[in-house]
């Protein structure tokens, strides 16, 4: 390496940008959440309604459930390219009760589909569609100025990718399916116990 390039490289190596503190905190939280998810797969999971982890998991499951619903229902009157969450503004909801009921149906369907997923190509395709939809929701969340929701959705992608991977061990796939199904159950429980006008908060 000649002297000019060495100086150039040294200057650039010294040019370190610190990430914002809240971003570093999110990275720490992401690892804690991933570890908690893993522990949850190994043990009988318990739900603490107030914890951050379950709040994040519930929000993610909500979006995934809607995504699965879109994939499975095909034409349901709402354009598939624009997730319904993109049009939902917190506090300005037009039909929150109807939204909640529709969501519950989607979640039940999604739970059924996920628990009956097998190792076939169709299952992989379905999961890839869910991932694609998840990315749309992530982008929609960003557009709606909901970065926390976007990051929660992003955190779900590795789990879905793992499930879609061909080389995953059957027992791991089973554990992941059980975890996702559990989170959908949690979401359904939350939906049933919450006032409908709180169903679309981010």
């Amino acid at each position: 390496m000649n002297d000019d390039i060495r100086k150039l490289v040294e200057a650039h190596e010294a040019d370190v940008h610190r990430p914002p503190a809240h971003v570093v905190e999110q990275w720490h939280s992401a690892i804690d959440e991933a570890a908690a998810l893993e522990r949850g797969r190994r043990q009988q999971p318990r739900w603490h309604p107030g914890s951050f982890f379950w709040g994040a998991a519930v929000t993610g499951a909500l979006a995934i459930g809607i995504g699965i619903g879109f994939v499975l229902s095909g034409d349901n009157g709402i354009p598939a390219q624009e997730p319904v969450i993109a049009y939902v503004e917190p506090g300005v909801g037009a039909t929150p009760a109807a939204f909640t009921r529709g969501l519950a149906v989607h979640l039940r369907d999604s739970r059924q589909q996920i628990t009956s997923l097998d190792d076939s190509t169709d299952a992989t395709m379905l999961l890839l569609q869910i991932i694609e939809q998840n990315r749309r929701f992530e982008m929609a969340a960003k557009r709606n100025d909901a970065p926390k929701l976007a990051r929660v959705l992003r955190a779900f992608e590795p789990i879905l990718l793992q499930l879609a991977a061909n080389d995953i061990a059957p027992e791991d796939a089973e554990a992941l399916r059980a975890q996702l199904a559990f989170e959908l159950n949690v979401m359904l429980t939350k939906l049933a116990s919450q006032p409908s006008d709180e169903s679309h908060t981010t």
Binding site: M1, L8, P19, Q26, W27, I31, E157, P158
Partner: protein
């Protein structure tokens, strides 16, 4: 820093505390976007966590995550700008600062970062990977889907442009 056995949750936290500024900086130099850089690091952390059983005992956790973060950053810019590395014209883009990059440069507030921003995407990525990340031209070519010759050309042009930027910075400092 952890160097043997499967890394634990505490090892990841330690790595984040001590090395995440390096990961973030490297991703920022590739993406030129603070949000994408943060996303790349988060993706890398989660991927590393989920695949930690594959971690080589002889490796260092922080350098392993660093490498994954770079790949995540490359994936993110590809996803956000499909076809980025494909058109030949990109190689010969002028060094005029594009309006869509102006705010990013303002955000980064570093002359060196601005100098990187004056490169084309291909030049910047190839320079960062070759000289700052010490990747081989073959690895870069494989990672971004170009042939090795074009990678070397891009690095050559990047160095040439950066030398000019460095000289003007030095002249300003001397004045």
């Amino acid at each position: 820093m952890q160097t043997g056995g499967m890394p634990t949750q505490a090892d990841f936290h330690e790595a984040i505390s001590t090395r995440s500024d390096r990961w973030y900086s490297a991703c920022l130099k590739i993406t030129r976007n603070p949000d994408l850089a943060a996303d790349a690091v988060q993706d890398a952390l989660l991927n590393a966590w989920n695949k930690r059983h594959q971690f080589q005992r002889s490796a260092r956790l922080d350098t392993w995550i660093h490498r994954i973060a770079i790949n995540a950053a490359l994936n993110l810019i590809r996803r956000n700008k499909p076809g980025l590395f494909e058109p030949l014209e990109k190689d010969y883009e002028s060094d005029i600062v594009r309006p869509d990059r102006a705010w990013e440069e303002h955000e980064l507030e570093s002359e060196l970062a601005m100098a990187l921003g004056r490169l084309t995407e291909i030049e910047r990525v190839c320079f960062v990977l070759k000289h700052l990340e010490q990747w081989r031209a073959r690895e870069i070519a494989d990672a971004i889907g170009l042939n090795e010759g074009r990678v070397k050309q891009a690095v050559f042009r990047a160095v040439k442009k950066l030398r000019v930027s460095m000289r003007s910075m030095q002249e300003e400092t001397n004045e």
